[in-house]
Amino acid sequence: MTIGLTHYLILAALLFCCGLFVMTTKRNAVGILIGVELVLNAACLNLVAFSRYRVGTIDGQIAALFIIVLAAAEAAVAIAIFVNYYRMLATIDADKGDELRG
């Protein structure tokens, strides 16, 4: 059995779903961020797999490259906001921030 596109896609889908689940269940804000990283990894895996098995250009790889950069940027901003949040509320529990509601 040769490894084809679908294998990678299913793996990516699994990562995607894990990431989404992490985002919805982790109360630690950093945990939510980790979920986001998982989803982004799924997208990158998809892109590279398509690039490799179907398209045959390096476009997919380049896109994945940019997404890695974006993930880093996003993490930087998110961590800075977490630090700020932690400073204000003295916790990293995302559920504690529920003053804004209704």
Binding site: A29, L40, A63, F66, I81, Y85, G97
Partner: protein
């Protein structure tokens, strides 16, 4: 010295000129960073530079508008064989540049007033003048590129460029507990949405083998043509568009990112919380610019499906035409639009916080604007409608956005003045405002009535053009009537909560609350908005419509597949 390899490429002067507004913005960012190092961190310095940048940017935009007068120009076409343009410049994107520069200028104004009014001088460093403007300008850059990108990768990066600085902006008042909470929610929700969107883009890449929107558009065309021939020979083919599950999945996931920017249902949850928690000038920026860019992007994406030629297609049985890509997208967008504006208006009814009311109102307005995106079929003479040369939906959105900018800047600006004075944004802070600060209350009332859409104000003009566009298209696509009815019902609902604020200002009073003198600059800002709204509803009623039509002419916003004039001889 290395000899440049053939693939290394610098865009031509023409191309660079085409995107000079963006370059002006980048230049302003650098200036905002560098100049304070030279002259000191006074808050006026970065603001002044930003305003200056806006002016230069407007001039550049004007120059570009002359360049795109003949039609859309594709830009940044790489020299390699088969390469496709990355960016597009047309009147629609020029309009967005104009809008964003205008919004930038107004927000800068508001920020300056806020700095002076809110905390006194000792904390100006706290407000992070240069940092604030770097973030603001960068997000503006992202928003401009969102509307003019022709490539999904550029699109993603543009959206992130618009979003990431916005997250930071929400937390820019570092001593605000609510601001910190709002920023956390915003960044988390935004990261989720963009992650889903990126996953969707990866699927679209797999489906079409390209990230280029023009190629995707022509692939859709090809599929459409294939479909027509199939129908001619093997009728009936059912669910032609719907069988393409991967495509729809990718599109839906991409849509998640877009409607997150618009704050439409079901990705609207962040909006009220963030709008309430963010500093008011940032809220204004998000409600105006971020939303506007999202709507523009939606129109661009949706217009990929624009069916050129008569509608419904003559050789397609109506039952099948109902299942084409275009029809499905239109109906989905229409449903989202209807739900969005209904949810926004209903949820606003019971709010007690003015910023939150306005947040929900902005959700509702996003819904109205999305309705225009449901007008998808190109108007044509064959269907019996007199053929305008412009895209009615786009023209309506252009008019709407312009008015919306003024209404929201006015309403949020006045709210900001009250908030800075009283320290609270609860509805009770507005009690007796008609007596305490008549020059804030009156423009605010005008803006609110305009948000309702009462004549003779700009809001009415905007809704009028929107409903007119919907009604005209409904002549050939009767389902659009539903949207018209929903919009009208929603207007009636929305009246209630806007009038609540007005009632609080004029019909409630409490002698214990002192009158106050709002800062002159702030009064000037909100009054200017109110006066222009009044003019837009009266004297400038048809000029606005004409201008919007002109800006939406020549486009079905379908990116040109390739561009001969600008390709390089290299």
């Amino acid at each position: 010295m290395n000899v440049p390899t053939p693939n290394t490429w610098l865009p031509s002067a023409d191309e660079l000129h085409l995107f000079s507004p963006e370059f002006v913005l980048v230049g302003t960012i650098v200036a905002v960073l560098v100049v304070p190092l030279l002259v000191g961190r006074r808050p006026e310095v970065p603001a002044l530079i930003a305003v200056l940048g806006c002016f230069v940017g407007l001039v550049a935009t004007w120059a570009v508008s002359a360049q795109v007068a003949d039609g859309p120009q594709a830009g940044m076409v790489p020299p390699s064989a088969g390469a496709t343009p990355m960016l597009l410049a047309d009147r629609f994107s020029v309009f967005y540049q104009l809008l964003l520069f205008l919004a930038l200028g107004l927000i800068t104004w508001l920020w300056l007033i806020g700095v002076q009014k809110r905390n006194g001088t000792d904390s100006t460093a706290e407000r992070g003048g240069p940092e604030f403007f770097v973030l603001l300008l960068t997000s503006a850059l992202g928003m401009m590129l969102m509307v003019s990108s022709l490539n999904l990768l550029v699109l993603i990066i543009a959206i992130e460029t618009a979003s990431l600085p916005s997250y930071a902006l929400v937390a820019s008042d570092k001593r605000s507990r609510l601001g910190a909470e709002a920023a956390l929610k915003y960044v988390m929700f935004g990261a989720t949405a963009s992650a889903i969107m990126i996953y969707g883009v990866s699927l679209l890449y797999g489906r079409f083998g390209t990230l280029d929107l023009s190629v995707i558009a022509s692939a859709l065309d090809a599929r459409y043509a294939e479909l027509r021939s199939t129908v001619a020979t093997f009728a009936p083919v059912t669910h032609v568009g719907v069988t393409d599950a991967v495509f729809w999945l990718g599109l839906a996931a991409l849509g998640v990112g877009i409607i997150f920017k618009i704050a439409a249902v079901p990705m609207h949850y962040w909006c009220p919380d963030v709008f309430q928690g963010a500093p008011t000038e940032v809220t204004t920026w998000l409600s105006v610019a971020s939303k506007a860019a999202g709507v523009g992007l939606l129109l661009r994406i949706v217009s990929l499906f624009t069916v050129t030629g008569p509608w419904p297609p003559p050789n397609l049985p109506p039952a099948v035409a109902g299942h084409t890509y275009a029809m499905t997208v239109a109906v989905l967008v229409g449903i989202l639009a209807a739900v969005t504006c209904t949810v926004g208006n209903l949820a606003a009814l019971r709010q007690e916080n003015v910023k939150r009311i306005l947040a929900y109102s902005s959700i509702a307005h996003a819904g109205y604007m999305m309705m225009a995106a449901a007008i998808i079929a190109a108007p044509s003479a064959a269907s019996g409608v007199s053929a305008p040369t412009y895209n009615a939906g786009m023209a309506a959105v252009i008019a709407y956005l312009f008015v919306y900018l003024l209404m929201n800047v006015g309403a949020f600006g006045a709210t900001a003045l009250v908030v800075w004075q009283t320290g609270t944004d609860h509805l009770s802070a507005f009690t007796g405002l008609g007596r305490r600060a008549p020059w804030v209350a009156l423009p605010l009332a005008v803006c609110l009535f305009s948000l309702v859409g009462l004549p003779p104000l700009g809001g009415f003009t905007a809704k009028w053009y929107l409903l007119l566009a919907l009604g005209k298209s409904a002549a050939t696509q009767p389902w659009l009537w539903v949207l018209v009815v929903v919009a009208v019902i929603n207007t009636a609902i929305s009246l209630y909560y806007y009038v609540r604020i007005i009632r609080q200002m004029y019909l409630r009073d409490d002698a214990a609350l002192p009158a106050f003198r709002p800062p002159g600059g702030g009064v000037a800002l909100v009054s200017a908005c109110a006066i222009i709204l009044l003019l837009l509803g009266t004297l400038w009623f048809s000029p606005l419509g004409r201008r919007a039509q002109a800006l939406a002419s020549d486009v079905y916003a379908r990116p040109p597949a390739a561009h001969a004039e600008l390709s390089h001889p290299m």
